[in-house]
């Protein structure tokens, strides 16, 4: 079980490769990769700020809740911080469980949390200037499904 925040780009395939190795009793692994969209040129960079230390602890708390709720064998969360270019991965979540429903639901819950409540501040920078982003209404209602 781990939470990694990093400025450096990462490769979701390489993360899944490591995560899925040597699992004899895990029947199901779900991964989610969130990618910065170019929005047809409207966004040139995404800037993500975390509160180093605090952000990892808060995410780790939800990770522990999901692990207990869905009897997970393992979880990995990797999240970019700093400037992110279109096409680059922002977030990677992988869940390992005995059966597929638990692995799917845990990844779904973790992503809903990360997209709406995790301690990040996100700015979109484009040709028309920059703006701070808030969670969408859909992000909020998605997250409320698990309360």
């Amino acid at each position: 079980m781990s939470v990694i925040l990093q400025d450096a780009p990462f490769d979701p395939g390489a993360l899944l490769l490591t995560f899925s190795r040597g699992r004899e009793e895990t029947g199901a692994i779900v991964s989610f990769t969130g990618i910065a969209r170019a929005e047809a040129g409207r966004t040139t960079t995404l800037e993500l700020e975390a509160y180093s230390g605090f952000t990892e602890i808060e995410i780790g708390r939800i990770e522990a809740q999901a692990t207990a709720r869905f009897s997970l064998h393992d979880v990995l969360i990797v999240h970019r911080t700093g400037p992110i270019a279109p096409g680059e991965a922002i977030v990677f979540v992988a869940t390992a469980a005995g059966h597929r429903r638990e692995a799917f639901e845990a990844a779904d819950l973790l992503m809903d949390y990360l997209k709406s409540r995790a301690p990040f501040w996100k700015k979109e920078v484009g040709p028309d200037g920059e703006r701070w982003i808030e969670p969408s209404d859909r992000d909020r209602t998605d997250a409320a499904r698990w309360d």
């Binding site: 509160y51 230390g53 605090f54 997209k115 990040f120 501040w121 996100k122 808030e134 992000d139």
Partner: protein
């Protein structure tokens, strides 16, 4: 002295991210910041701004020990 940290839009409003400031409590610290920069003061009292002391969210006022880390957290945007 408290280590004061601003995140997200608060940092843009204030023009700084981290400073050491003398303050005996959160209330005193907010008053000090508002006296110095009224736009920041307004933003700090804004909707949904949370305060963390030594990386734990606190509600209401709290006395600050020497070397306390005080972070002002505007509404989180998620990743």
């Amino acid at each position: 002295m408290a280590r004061v940290m601003l995140f997200g839009p608060l940092r843009d409003v204030a023009g700084w991210r981290e400073r050491d400031l003398p303050a005996a409590s959160i209330t005193a610290l907010k008053a000090l910041l508002a006296a110095e920069d009224s736009a920041l003061g307004l933003a700090l009292y804004g909707k949904g701004v949370q305060v963390a002391v030594d990386q734990a969210i606190v509600r209401g006022d709290l006395a600050l020990s020497a070397n306390a880390e005080v972070a002002f957290l505007p509404p989180m945007s998620g990743g």
